[in-house]
């Protein structure tokens, strides 16, 4: 079971890396409106590093939690910046949660989404409405928990999670940034989707394509 699960995560990171590469310019453009236009570069670089770190693992032997730990360190060392500590903390937290149950069952998938959202929240000390990646991750987490509670099938669960993340990311358009570099733009951050929320949706979609 553990082998399959680790391969699932490896596949997930490959999908994320490919999507980040494809969306690189788009994300950087979004970032150009409110930041320094490198978000796409940073995310593509970070997940490329995650991929090569995961590729060095023996996926028949390592546990899913170890895949996530390796991903956390690789991402952090490759990018630094603000996304580095945020996603590194998120993946580390997810790794800790997986140690309780390495099966990647639907409940485990929900736990990963929860851990990612919580890790980002803890590290960035942010909350919903700050116009950050949390505006995608928190609604996604809520949708995941709701789906678990009503015992939804994985297909339906991931459809809800991605839809909630997308709605949340789109809602950042009418928010005023409270954290990160965009916070210093004041009202000039209005009317633009937060690039961190946009890349969060890309991750969520790749997770859906892996699990559902």
């Amino acid at each position: 079971m553990a082998e399959t699960a680790s391969r699932f995560l490896s596949r997930m990171f490959q999908l994320i890396a490919m999507a980040m590469q494809a969306e690189k310019d788009h994300l950087s453009e979004l970032d150009g409106a409110v930041g320094d236009a490198d978000h796409g570069i940073t995310m593509a670089l970070g997940f490329a590093a995650v991929n090569s770190a995961v590729a060095r693992l023996d996926l028949d032997k390592v546990l899913p939690s170890e895949v996530l730990s390796a991903a956390a360190s690789a991402f952090l060392d490759a990018v630094g910046a603000s996304t580095g500590p945020l996603y590194a903390t998120a993946f580390r937290k997810a790794a800790q949660v997986l140690k309780q149950d390495e099966s990647l069952s639907p409940a485990g998938q929900v736990a990963i989404v929860e851990a990612i959202a919580q890790g980002i929240k803890d590290r960035g000390k942010g909350q919903r409405g700050d116009k950050t990646m949390l505006d995608a991750w928190i609604p996604a987490m809520e949708a995941a928990v709701a789906a678990r509670e009503r015992g939804a099938e994985p297909d339906e669960m991931w459809r809800d999670i991605v839809a909630a993340g997308e709605t949340g990311a789109n809602a950042t358009r009418s928010m005023v940034a409270a954290r990160g570099r965009a916070a210093r733009l004041g009202e000039r951050s209005l009317g633009h989707v937060d690039p961190g929320a946009a890349s969060a949706v890309i991750i969520l979609r790749a997770m859906r394509d892996t699990f559902a």
Binding site: A33, G84, R128, L190
Partner: protein, 698 residues
């Protein structure tokens, strides 16, 4: 000249008829009767009848000349830009949200607060909107009180003012009771208070209150209101909703978690304007959202960009049909709802010309000296380490963590600096004896990760602790904090000073939120000298903090920078625009302004710095005029010239100065001015010898 010639024209032209137009026309108008007609009409203020006589043509011809002159662009009618834009924004808000009316006050002229300006505008609006026989429900808030204080309506009969919510025991100046009574006084109206608290302990108390005949009566009056006046509150951390004490903060957190973005008349709403249910609903005594929606005229007065999401929500929910706001907020609301044409239209109108057509040979890429765009940082570091081998060396073979060859020594506090690349000679140029002991190097404009920072801390540690000095950016803070935690685990004490010298990046009340820019140069120098002199960790920290508190920087960009990977500008600065309050990462500035002369730009910066720097005649300062990358020394000296004039006029002495490339932003065109307000201790430390690749003081 025109006024002298026209009377003679008037005498002769009437008789001679149209054939003599050319003769009667003064030479200065060439052979263009349109220009002459326009001159007479617009500049001399003649009537069309007079002009017809002067020019010897029919009045109908004059009329068509004037009309043609506008369509041919001889005459441009222009309204004063700030009034024009507020009018245009008001019209657009009215159209987009289907409002009955909308009043937008022009943008800040700097002389009065926003609340004050909204109060005046609201007062004028009330005089127009309030009629005899009206019942007006009045909510509470700073803006509402400002309106009441600015309203003076006389001659109305049978007006009733009803307090829209219960009262409060919180001790702020703009309570519901006070707002309603001030408005009643200002309009000569009858006042009906709600004699119950706005928030009661529980649902039973609430229903008990609502059953009281007196309060039932007061609510019935509230139900008869045909007009309502209220503010819109945001739920952002610094908003008055948190500080007023009207709501308990525990309850607010509950609503925030359920995605509430604003408060209208004491009720929480989400981004779509739907009511958000929560623990206060059954404990609130006041107008409900349903009641509010049934009132015919619902006047909201609110401004400030932090309120944009809340106002937008209230508009979407249909709680507002008359909006009074300011131009910046109004534009923000439109942008937030995806209406961006307003910006283009305003830009065109105020410039009086169409969009600038792109030349056919428009460039898509900036030329740069590159091999592999993904390897720029590593290739640069290879070059740096060869060029400055005498000063810096890699730690454990990694070029991302560099140590000063003559830096760390036992018994000395270690100084670690760092940040993204693209700012050269920041940060690695300031590593050397008497300056920083080690530097962590990130990607372009990105913080280094904790790993190399920890290596730097280890290398710099001389047993007396390590001082981290770096710019205040979310990414740097997270990575350096993680590294500091790891260093503590290894028993290396770490203290941190975040540099926050960019005074344009946040108002003075939010000093800690400001970012660190070129003033880093001063902080590194002071911290390096303090460490080199053998001061303790806390002394080094304290004096660096003092330097930061006394350093003031503002940057101005003329053109944006371009990243090596994209070789494109991150955003565009218009042909006649500049960005004031520019950071050093290619992010936008704080405000956009028209291009000005060097002295005007310097004056803008210096005025702002003088506003914060409490310098007396006879005081001494250090000055840094810094290029963002592409601005040449020639222009920096022109800026420095004016800085010196302004300081000299205040009898402030420039003890020492630097002009050049000290903290750049790739190839950005622009410059920053930093002033360090010296005292004896800082002067001594600034003079302390140092030797690094970018700075040497003997």
């Amino acid at each position: 000249m025109a006024s002298k010639t026209s009377p003679t024209g008037k005498l002769t032209a009437g008789k001679t008829g149209q054939t003599d137009v050319a003769d009667a026309m003064p030479l200065r108008y060439g052979d263009d009767p349109y220009v002459w007609a326009c001159w007479l009409y617009y500049e001399e203020g003649r009537t069309q009848h007079d002009i017809a006589e002067i020019m010897g043509i029919s009045r109908a011809t004059v009329n068509s000349y004037l009309a043609d002159a506008r369509s041919r662009g001889i005459v441009n009618i222009s309204l004063e830009p700030s009034r024009l834009s507020s009018l245009a924004i008001a019209q657009e808000l009215k159209r987009h949200f289907g409002l009955q009316d909308c009043l937008v006050v022009p943008s800040d002229d700097g002389s009065r607060t926003l609340i004050d300006r909204l109060g005046t505008a609201g007062g004028q609006a009330m005089a127009k909107l309030l009629k005899s026989g009206d019942t007006l429900a009045v909510a509470w808030g700073r803006t509402v009180l400002a309106i009441a204080e600015n309203t003076a309506v006389t001659g109305l009969q049978d007006v009733t003012i009803v307090q829209a919510t219960g009262g409060t025991r919180a001790s702020f100046a703009y309570t519901p009771e006070l707002c309603a009574s001030a408005m009643a006084e200002a309009t000569g109206a009858k006042l009906i208070n709600i004699s119950a608290p706005a928030i009661v302990s529980n649902a039973e108390v609430q229903s008990a209150f609502l059953r009281e005949p007196l309060i039932e009566e007061q609510f019935a009056a509230l139900g008869r209101a045909n007009k309502a006046l209220f503010g819109v509150s945001s739920l952002r951390p610094n908003s008055t909703i948190h500080t007023s004490g009207f709501f308990e903060s525990v309850s607010i957190q509950h609503y925030l978690a359920k995605n509430a973005v604003g408060v209208v008349a004491g009720r929480f709403i989400d981004p779509q304007g739907h009511a958000v249910a929560g623990p206060l609903d059954e404990r609130t005594i006041g107008i409900s959202l349903d009641m509010l929606q049934k009132i015919g005229m619902r006047i909201a007065v609110a401004g400030g960009f932090d309120k944009v999401p809340a106002i937008l929500a209230a508009l979407r929910g249909g709680f507002i049909n008359v909006l009074i706001t300011d131009a910046a907020t109004g534009r923000g609301i439109l942008n937030a709802d995806g209406v961006t044409e307003i910006d283009q239209r305003l830009a065109q109108r105020t410039r009086g010309e169409g969009p600038v057509p792109l030349p056919s040979n428009v460039r898509t890429h900036i030329k740069k000296f590159l091999n592999n765009p993904d390897q720029v940082v590593d290739e640069m570091l290879e070059g740096v380490l060869k060029a400055h081998a005498g000063y810096i060396a890699p730690i454990k073979g990694s070029n991302r963590a560099l140590v000063a060859r003559n830096g760390p020594r036992a018994g000395k506090v270690g100084l670690v600096i760092g940040g993204g690349t693209g700012h050269e000679p920041c940060f690695l140029g300031y590593v050397g004896k008497g300056l920083a002991d080690a530097v962590a190097v990130g990607n372009i404009f990105s913080s280094p990760p904790p790993g190399p920072i920890l290596e730097c801390a280890r290398a710099a540690s001389g047993g007396q602790g390590v001082l981290f000095v770096y710019g205040n950016y979310a990414g740097d803070v997270m990575n350096f904090e993680m590294a500091a935690e790891m260093a503590h685990e290894e028993d290396i004490p770490v203290r941190t000073v975040l540099t926050t010298d960019d005074i344009a990046s946040s108002p003075v009340e939010d000093r800690e939120g400001r970012r660190g820019v070129a003033g880093n140069f001063f902080m590194f120098k002071i911290a390096g000298a303090a460490c080199d002199r053998g001061l303790s960790l806390s002394e080094c920290e304290a004096v660096t903090r003092k330097a930061n508190d006394r350093t003031f920087t503002i940057g101005v960009a003329l053109e944006p920078c371009s990243l090596p990977q994209t070789r494109r500008h991150n955003f565009e600065i218009g042909p006649d625009d500049i960005e004031i309050g520019m950071g050093i990462h290619g992010e936008r500035g704080v405000v956009r302004d028209r291009m000005m002369s060097a002295d005007q730009i310097t004056d803008r910066i210096i005025d702002r710095i003088f506003g914060e720097m409490n310098a007396q005649p006879g005081d001494r300062v250090a000055v840094l005029v810094n290029s963002f990358g592409a601005t040449p020394l020639m222009e920096l000296y022109i800026l420095f010239r004016r800085v010196e004039q302004r300081l000299g006029a205040k009898n402030i002495t420039i003890a020492t100065n630097w002009v050049g490339h000290y903290c750049t932003s790739l190839d950005m065109v622009g410059a920053s001015i930093s002033i360090l307000h010296l005292d004896q201790e800082l002067s001594d430390l600034l003079r302390h010898p140092c030797d690094s690749a970018a700075l040497r003081i003997n």
